[in-house]
C-alpha cells in the first residue's frame, strides 16, 4: 500500500518550461532558457547527469554553427573535456596490411575546435552549471526523476508525467531525453521500427596514465589523437572503429549499421575485440590492458530519421530524441548538433512567448534549424538524391564487382589513386556521400589496405575481458521485480536477433539479457527467446530488432556509467 499522505488536491504544478534530460542538448536548452529569464525545470533520470550517457567521445565546435557548447558554458573546455584532437588519421585494414591517411584536413573543415570527452564527468559538470543558472529563474535540475509520458488535455500535449513525482504542466516541453526518447515516441514523432535507421556503437574505456598516453601517441600534454579504422577487420559488417585519447584513458569503440549487425548475425562485443586485438593496436595498448568500462549506445542516422519538423503542440525535440545525429562518412557529429538545437529551441521559445497558439515555438524552432543550415547538415537533400542511386543493391553489386576484379584493385591501387584517395577522404562533400554499403566500409578500405598498405609484423598480446566480466564490472541499481523491458513475442523468429545484436547478450552465454533455448512441446521443438533485464545497458537495440515493450528503468535505477 502507499504510505503517501501528501495532498493530491492542489492540481498540477506548472513551470514555464520543462526540459527532460540533462545531456548536452537539454543543458544547452535550459541554459539559454535561463538566459531569457524563463522559469525552467530540468528533469534527469540518472542519479546524476552523465550516468546514463554514452558517446564515442568527440564533441565539435563548428565554425558555421550558431551555437557551440563553449558559447553557452565558457569554461567547458578547461573543466569538462579531456583532450583536443590535434592528430586525426584513418586506417584502412586488410588482414595485417594497413594503409593510413591523415584526415586532419577533413577533420578541420568547419571545425573551430574538437575535444574528446567522457560523458559522466562532462554531463555532471553541465548539470551543476545548469542548476545554478536555472535556479536564478525559479527552476533547477532534479536528477533521479524519469519522464514516462506526456500529459494531455483534450488530446493536446500540456505537460509531462513522471514515475517519481506528480505530473507537471508547462508552456513548453523540451524533450532532450536521448535516443530512446519516451516523449518522442509518445508524441508519435519517432518509432523503433527499422534497423536501417540506426547505428549501434559499443565502447571500451581503457585505463592509461597520462605520460603513457603522450608517449605512445607521440603527443604532448594538451594534445590528443583520433584514429578511425575500416576494412576487413570486422568481416562484412558495415561500420568502423575509433580510438580517441582522453586525459588518462582511451576510448576505443566500434559503430555499425544495425541492419548489417542483424544480417551478419554479428556479436558487437566480438567486433570490438577484433579491433582491440588487431596488431595495429599493439603499439598503443602495450601488453597490459585494463578496461575501466564497457558501454553501448544506439545512434540514429540523421540522414534518414532527423525530423524536419521536430515538434508537436508545445513539445520540441532536441538532439538524439529528434534523430539529430550526423554521420558524415567516418566522422560522427551528435553532441554539437544537440547543443545547437537545444539553444535554438530555447530562442524559439523566448521569441514565441506571448503568441497565442501552442505550436508557435515549434514552428520557429523548425525554421531556425533550417535557416541556420543545421538541418541541411543533419539531413542533406543531396543525400536523398545520391542514396537513391548508390544504395540500390544492383549498383552496389556492380561497383563491388569492378573493385574486386584485378582491374578495379589496380585502379584503386596505383600511385595516382593513392593521392586522389588521400584527397577524396579529406573532401567533406565526397565523404558525406559515400554510400552506406559494404563498398564504402569494407571493400574499398580493404583494397586500399591491401594495395597501398604496409604490413604490421608485431603481435597484439592483449586479452580483452569476457562479456561476463564486462557486465560484472558495471554498476547497477536493479529495480528488482520491475523489469523495464517485456518480451511481447518470445519466438526466435520475432526476437532472436536480440540474442546476438544486444551488446550484453551472446549465443551460448547465459549471463546476458537475451538467451535462446529449444523447448520441446507436444513432440515438436520450438526455439524460444528469454529475457533477463538485469545486465541491460539501456541502449535500445532490442527495441528495434526484437518484439518488446521497452521503457527506461525508473529514475536512478538500472545501469550507472562512471565514464560514459
Amino acid at each position: 500500500m502507499s504510505t503517501d499522505l501528501a495532498s493530491d488536491d492542489a492540481g498540477y504544478e506548472h513551470y514555464e518550461a520543462v526540459v527532460v534530460g540533462c545531456g548536452p542538448g537539454g543543458a544547452a536548452a535550459a541554459s539559454r532558457l535561463a538566459d531569457h529569464g524563463v522559469e525552467t525545470l530540468v528533469l534527469e533520470r540518472g542519479v546524476e547527469a552523465g550516468s546514463k550517457n554514452v558517446s564515442g567521445g568527440l564533441i565539435y565546435a563548428e565554425d558555421s554553427a550558431p551555437y557551440t557548447i563553449d558559447d553557452l558554458f565558457p569554461d567547458f573546455r578547461q573543466e569538462a573535456s579531456e583532450r583536443p584532437v590535434t592528430d586525426y588519421r584513418i586506417h584502412n585494414v586488410s588482414g595485417r596490411q594497413v594503409k593510413s591517411y591523415d584526415l586532419t584536413g577533413l577533420h578541420e573543415h568547419d571545425t573551430d575546435w574538437c575535444d574528446a570527452v567522457l560523458r559522466r564527468p562532462m554531463d555532471s559538470w553541465l548539470e551543476d552549471r545548469v542548476h545554478e543558472m536555472t535556479s536564478e529563474t525559479g527552476g533547477g535540475v532534479l536528477s533521479g526523476v524519469r519522464a514516462n509520458g506526456l500529459l494531455r488535455e483534450n488530446g493536446e500535449i500540456i505537460g509531462v508525467t513522471f514515475d517519481e513525482i506528480d505530473p507537471i504542466t508547462a508552456d513548453v516541453v523540451i524533450a532532450a531525453d536521448g535516443v530512446n526518447s519516451e516523449l518522442a515516441r509518445d508524441a508519435g514523432l519517432m518509432d523503433w521500427e527499422e534497423p536501417e535507421d540506426w547505428f549501434q556503437g559499443v565502447k571500451a574505456v581503457v585505463d592509461m596514465d597520462p605520460e603513457t598516453v603522450n608517449d605512445r601517441f607521440d603527443i604532448s600534454e594538451g594534445e590528443g589523437a583520433a584514429h578511425l579504422f575500416s576494412g576487413d577487420l570486422f568481416s562484412d559488417v558495415r561500420g568502423g572503429g575509433f580510438l580517441y585519447t582522453n586525459e588518462d584513458s582511451l576510448s576505443i569503440g566500434t559503430v555499425f549499421h544495425l541492419d548489417s549487425l542483424v544480417e551478419e548475425e554479428a556479436e558487437p562485443h566480438e567486433l570490438l575485440d577484433a579491433l582491440l586485438t588487431h596488431p595495429l593496436l599493439a603499439k598503443w595498448l602495450g601488453d597490459s590492458y585494463d578496461e575501466r568500462e564497457y558501454s553501448a549506445k544506439l545512434v540514429p542516422d540523421s540522414k534518414k530519421v532527423a525530423l524536419r519538423e521536430p515538434y508537436r503542440d508545445r513539445l520540441l525535440l532536441v538532439g538524439d530524441a529528434g534523430g539529430q545525429m550526423q554521420a558524415q562518412g567516418p566522422i560522427i557529429k551528435g553532441m554539437n548538433h544537440a547543443v545547437t538545437a537545444g539553444a535554438l529551441a530555447a530562442d524559439a521559445v523566448a521569441l514565441a512567448q506571448g503568441e497565442g497558439d501552442a505550436e508557435a515555438a515549434g514552428r520557429r524552432y523548425a525554421s531556425m534549424l533550417e535557416k541556420s543550415g543545421t538541418m541541411e547538415k543533419l539531413r542533406p537533400k543531396r543525400y536523398e538524391y545520391s542514396s537513391r542511386v548508390s544504395e540500390r543493391s544492383l549498383t552496389t553489386r556492380a561497383v563491388e564487382g569492378v573493385l574486386n576484379s584485378r582491374v578495379g584493385s589496380a585502379a584503386v591501387g596505383n600511385r595516382i589513386a593513392d593521392r586522389l584517395l588521400r584527397r577524396a577522404y579529406n573532401s567533406p562533400g565526397l565523404v558525406g556521400m559515400l554510400p552506406d554499403t559494404e563498398t564504402g566500409y569494407v571493400t574499398l578500405p580493404s583494397i586500399i589496405g591491401a594495395e597501398h598498405g604496409r604490413t604490421i609484423h608485431w603481435d597484439n598480446e592483449i586479452e580483452p575481458p569476457s562479456l561476463a566480466d564486462r557486465i560484472g564490472d558495471l554498476t547497477y541499481d536493479t529495480d528488482v521485480g520491475n523489469p523495464h523491458i517485456r518480451l511481447r513475442d518470445e519466438s526466435f523468429e520475432a526476437s532472436g536477433a536480440a540474442v546476438y545484436a544486444c551488446p550484453v547478450s551472446a549465443e551460448e552465454f547465459g549471463g546476458g539479457c537475451y538467451r535462446s533455448e529449444v523447448v520441446e512441446t507436444n513432440g515438436s521443438e520450438e526455439r524460444l527467446v528469454s529475457l533477463d533485464t538485469q545486465p541491460c545497458v539501456e541502449c535500445g537495440t532490442c527495441a528495434v530488432v526484437a518484439d518488446t515493450e521497452w521503457e527506461h528503468p525508473r529514475g536512478g535505477k538500472g545501469v550507472e556509467f562512471r565514464e560514459g
Binding site: T3, V145, E164, D166
Partner: protein
C-alpha cells in the same frame, strides 16, 4: 513550523567497530560513538516537514561533550538550523526517566527563550538501551499528545493539525491513519519513508542540502550547550541520583552450540559426483 529532533549518540555496534572484553562487556572507550541508527527516520520526518512547510529545525541531545559530533552529523542529515547539547557531569548515568526530565526541561527552556515548538521528533528505541521509553516519557513531561510508529506524515499548518499513518501495535499488517493537534511528539517508525512528489519540494530539498553542507562543516558554531545550571535542574531528579532504574545484573548470552558439520567440496566434475553421492546417502538415510 518549528521542530526539535531528539537524537542520541550510541556505541557503533557495527561489525569491526564494536569491541567487547573477555567477559563480553562492551568496551565503551574503544568503541566509537555514532548517531543512533533509528534516529535517522526522526530526522527524515523533520526534514520532510521543513521541506514541505518551511520553518526551523533544531537538533537536541543529552550527553557528554563528545556528542556534539553526533549532533553535527544530525545537522547534515536534517539540514538543521541549529543544535542544542544538554551536557553536564551531573547528568551522567541517567536512566530513561532522568533523561526524559532533562530533555523535557531543555525543550521548555528552548520554547521560552528561542521560540514556540510545534513538533518534537524522536526515533524508535536507541541501539544501546533498547527501551523505547525516553520519547514517550519526555512527552509525558511536556503533557503533549504523542503519535508513535509513524510511517507517513502530513501537516496542516493552518488548522494546526497533523495527519499520520501509523502501525497499530507495531504490526506492518495493520495501519491506521490518525490526526492530532499541534504541538505534538512524533516517534518515527524504522519503516518511515519520506515522500517528495512535488518538483518544488525536491528543488527545496536540493537547496537546503547545498546550504546545510557548509553549515554542518562548522556545526560547533551553531551549537549551544546548556549545563545543569542553565537548565536549573534539581540534582535529586537528574543523573544517577534521579534514576530509579536499577540494573541488578547483566548475563552474557551464551553462544548457540554449533551442531552442524561442514564438508568442503571442490567445484568441478569430481566434486559434483561427490556431492551427488553425499546427497544420495543423506536421502537414503532419511528414507526418501
Amino acid at each position: 513550523m518549528r521542530s526539535i529532533v531528539l537524537t542520541k549518540g550510541v556505541p557503533d555496534f557495527s561489525e569491526g567497530a564494536v569491541s567487547f572484553d573477555e567477559d563480553g562487556h562492551l568496551e565503551r572507550g574503544k568503541t566509537p560513538t555514532v548517531m543512533n541508527p533509528n534516529d535517522e527516520k526522526a530526522l527524515q520526518a523533520a526534514l520532510q516537514t521543513k521541506v514541505r512547510h518551511g520553518g526551523h529545525v533544531s537538533g537536541m541531545s543529552m550527553g557528554p561533550p563528545g556528542y556534539g559530533e553526533v549532533l553535527g552529523e544530525a545537522m547534515e542529515e536534517v539540514y538543521a538550523d541549529d543544535l542544542y547539547l544538554l551536557s553536564d557531569r551531573e547528568l551522567a548515568a541517567s536512566d530513561t526517566w532522568a533523561t526524559a526530565i532533562t530533555l523535557c526541561t531543555g525543550i521548555e527552556k528552548y520554547a521560552d527563550e528561542i521560540g514556540g515548538v510545534d513538533l518534537v521528533f524522536a526515533g524508535f528505541k536507541t541501539a544501546d538501551g533498547e527501551t523505547g521509553q525516553t520519547g514517550p516519557q519526555t512527552c509525558w513531561g511536556l503533557e503533549w499528545p504523542i503519535v508513535t510508529h509513524v510511517l507517513a506524515l502530513d501537516i496542516d499548518p493552518d488548522e494546526r493539525r497533523l495527519r499520520a499513518k501509523r502501525l497499530v501495535e507495531g504490526d506492518r499488517d495493520e495501519i491506521e491513519t490518525v490526526e492530532a493537534p499541534l504541538p505534538c511528539v512524533v516517534i518515527a517508525d524504522p519503516e518511515f519513508s519520506p515522500t517528495y512528489r512535488k518538483a518544488s519540494h525536491r528543488l527545496t530539498h536540493k537547496r537546503l542540502r547545498a546550504e546545510t553542507r557548509e553549515r554542518a562543516e562548522e556545526y560547533e558554531e551553531h551549537m549551544t550547550t546548556w549545563n545543569q545550571q542553565d537548565l536549573n535542574l534539581d540534582p535529586e531528579y537528574i543523573g544517577l541520583d534521579g534514576s530509579p532504574t536499577i540494573v541488578s545484573s547483566v548475563d552474557p548470552i551464551p553462544k548457540a552450540p554449533s551442531e552442524r558439520e561442514a564438508t568442503v567440496i571442490e567445484p568441478g566434475g569430481e566434486g559434483m559426483e561427490e556431492l551427488f553421492g553425499e546427497m544420495n546417502e543423506f536421502a537414503a538415510a532419511r528414507g526418501d
